[in-house]
């Protein structure tokens, strides 16, 4: 049962956008996995299948000029903040027109125009960066918010502790958004963390800690909206712990010896997308054909994205030497 108020109090356009972005994330991930198997995408993919509600609920509660830092499981965050599937697919494929000219790949995909200050290959690496962005906003008197996505694993990194403490002291407009999917890579949270709720840690820093059902997009949206309001009003940080679950491996190909198929099945029943879809229909806010139409648009969009990535040019090997520095390149000065 969803704890949030009736969906009818939200604009239908917002609800549809939630559905659209969650579905796009899900389908994007499935297509990316498929294209990796087919050889279009090199390297590894950490998919966020099952965690779409955290990304979308959080990003839709932010303003377009608010910023986020993302994680190694960051495709959803990018899409939720407005990222375009074609440039994402091209980046995952390592192609020149990708978001990062093919230099970042899945782990570093980002669009600074959308306020995404990088996905990050280092667990916890983005947390102090988000706090720094929040400090910049505060110093310049801008009513903007920075949100750091991180997982339950990152909550045990020193970077989280140091950033949380400093942000509390300086009352920064930052939201620490923990996507607790119960596993830090392959280690269950109960084996790495002696408390049940990471939100409890907020007490130790002196700001609120909120637990939210991370598979309920509207609940996530509400929690982040309130935290963002607090932040904008100069009341400082909030820690949000969104309880969720990744339905696929830590990375594609992960043998998943650390959990049982029964556990995964159990969580599939709480899959955020069918759940939200059922609720939209149950409350009679949209009809099925509208949702089907959105689904169809997304599939077409992804077909186009895959085609775009396939046809996109590869970077030239000599380009590897350019762009290390903002003012010079290796060939000129070194």
């Amino acid at each position: 049962m969803d704890a949030t108020k009736s969906l009818s109090s939200y604009p239908t356009s917002l609800l549809l956008e939630m559905f659209r972005r969650m579905t796009l994330i899900r389908e994007f991930e499935l297509r990316a996995i498929e294209e990796r198997h087919r050889g279009l995408i090199p390297g590894f993919i950490h998919s966020c299948v099952g965690q779409e509600a955290t990304a979308v609920g959080a990003c839709l509660a932010l303003n377009p000029d608010d910023v986020i830092t993302s994680t190694h499981r960051g495709h959803g965050h990018l899409i939720a903040k407005g990222g375009e599937a074609r440039y994402m697919m091209a980046e995952l494929a390592g192609r020149q027109p990708g978001y990062c000219l093919g230099r970042g790949g899945s782990l570093h995909i980002s669009d600074f125009n959308l306020g995404i200050l990088g996905a990050n290959g280092i667990v916890g690496g983005g947390i102090p960066i988000a706090a720094g962005a929040a400090l910049a906003f505060k110093m310049r008197g801008e009513r903007r918010v920075a949100l750091a996505f991180f997982g339950d694993g990152a909550a045990n990194e020193g970077a989280f502790h140091e950033a949380a403490n400093q942000s509390a002291v300086w009352k920064l407009p930052v939201i620490f958004f923990c996507e607790n999917n119960l596993y830090g890579e392959g280690t269950a949270m109960h084996r790495s963390t002696a408390i049940q709720n990471l939100a409890d840690r907020a007490v130790a820093y002196g700001f609120p800690g909120v637990i939210v059902d991370g598979n309920d997009v509207v609940a996530v949206y509400e929690a982040v909206r309130q935290a963002a309001e607090r932040a904008r009003n100069g009341e400082g940080p909030t820690l949000i712990e969104a309880k969720t679950y990744r339905l696929r491996g830590h990375y594609e190909g992960d043998p998943q010896v650390y959990r049982t198929p029964q556990e995964v099945e159990e969580w599939k029943r709480r899959d955020p997308i069918p759940r939200f879809r059922a609720r939209l229909l149950q409350e009679q806010l949209v009809d099925e054909s509208t949702l089907e139409e959105i689904q169809g648009e997304i599939m077409a969009q992804l077909d186009e994205a895959v085609l775009f990535a396939k046809q996109a040019s590869q970077p030239q090997s000599e380009d590897a030497l350019y762009g290390v520095y903002a003012d010079i390149h290796n060939g000129l000065v070194f």
């Binding site: 978001y99 669009d111 102090p128 140091e162 290390v324 520095y325």
Partner: protein, 332 residues
């Protein structure tokens, strides 16, 4: 141009002061840099002048405040985090090496990270193995960082002002032994020193001594002693390691035919190794003897003065290295 004598610390402080006044995006971070004025007094008076929002006392959280500095740099500011003892920079390595240095490249040029990390280096103060190290070589090994190692108040001021206008991450190493012991002329007028331009600190013809940071002064003392024996040593200071002015170093060695490379960092896989490779390639046909390297011995820096001074390069070791070169010189 009118000049006056400033200490190394005063020159650093003056550069920070002028740049804070010039550019409101500049903000200093560090442990006790504000109300205290810095344990080495390099930020003295700046807290009073610019306020707690621009000269920020941080918790003891190197990873945290360097990381926040990376974030603030990515959103339009130019932070200057200070690492009080360079040894503590290990605590912030992820943010410097994995974040600041790579962010521009791995995002395909979407963002610049203009951050100037000031860190101290150097032993000789009986501070023990965790407060005496010189880790500049690590950062010179990382693409995406610039590394500055000034030796004089004049260079320190001009190079720091350049760093504070550079759009890239810069790691700026200040030998803490120089802060109050080294004085030198600094013009009243504003000046900048570009990166990647070595400086010949003393001209000579018999041998080249390449030295950086405080070791420049040790090398100059050695050169003075050698001069009394009729040996003319040229002392060349690269001033920045990245970018590196290979040409000036190579030209000097081509002229003198011998090279002693001196650095307070460890010898093994260190700056002296890299510079020796540059010289070996660029001046191979001009070398009359094997290149000599003088660095800290490969042990943790000890506490007791006789032990500590035995590990860090000194005048005597430089002189002995020059003797070896001159002995090894083939007959002309």
């Amino acid at each position: 141009m009118s000049t006056r004598e400033l200490t190394f610390a005063q020159a650093i402080r003056e550069a920070l002061d002028e740049e804070l006044a010039r550019d409101e995006r500049i903000v200093l971070f560090g442990e006790d840099i504000g109300a205290w004025g810095g344990v080495f007094r390099t930020t003295e008076g700046l807290y009073e002048k610019y306020g707690p929002d621009r000269v920020i006392d941080t918790p003891l959280s190197e990873e945290g405040y360097v990381g926040m500095a990376v974030g603030i740099a990515m959103t339009g500011m130019h932070p200057v985090p200070e690492i009080m003892f360079g040894d503590f920079i290990t605590l912030a390595m992820d943010q410097i090496v994995n974040q600041a240095a790579k962010m521009r490249y791995m995002t395909g040029g979407q963002v610049a990270v203009p951050i100037t990390i000031r860190a101290t280096m150097g032993g000789g103060r009986s501070s023990g193995a965790q407060h005496s190290q010189s880790w500049h070589a690590w950062f010179a090994h990382v693409p995406g960082l610039k590394v500055v190692v000034p030796s004089t108040p004049y260079d320190a001021k001009g190079l720091l002002k350049t760093a504070l206008r550079d759009p890239n991450p810069v790691v700026f190493f200040e030998d803490k032994v120089m802060y109050h012991k080294i004085k030198g002329p600094v013009p009243e007028e504003e000046y900048l020193i570009p990166f990647g331009v070595a400086d010949i600190k003393r001209e000579g013809k018999d041998v080249t001594i390449i030295a950086l940071s405080r070791m420049v002064h040790t090398a100059l003392a050695a050169a003075e002693r050698l001069a009394q024996e009729g040996i003319s040593a040229e002392v060349v200071d690269p001033r920045t390691l990245t970018p590196l002015d290979e040409e000036t170093l190579v030209q000097s060695v081509c002229k003198t035919g011998g090279a002693v490379i001196v650095d307070e960092g460890y010898t093994r896989f260190g700056i002296t190794a890299e510079l020796a490779a540059v010289i070996a390639k660029g001046a191979f046909d001009y070398l009359d003897a094997p290149i000599e390297r003088v660095g800290a011995f490969d042990v943790p820096i000890p506490f007791s003065p006789p032990l500590e001074f035995a590990t860090i390069p000194d005048e005597e070791r430089i002189v002995q290295a020059v003797y070896r070169i001159l002995e090894g010189r083939r007959p002309q």
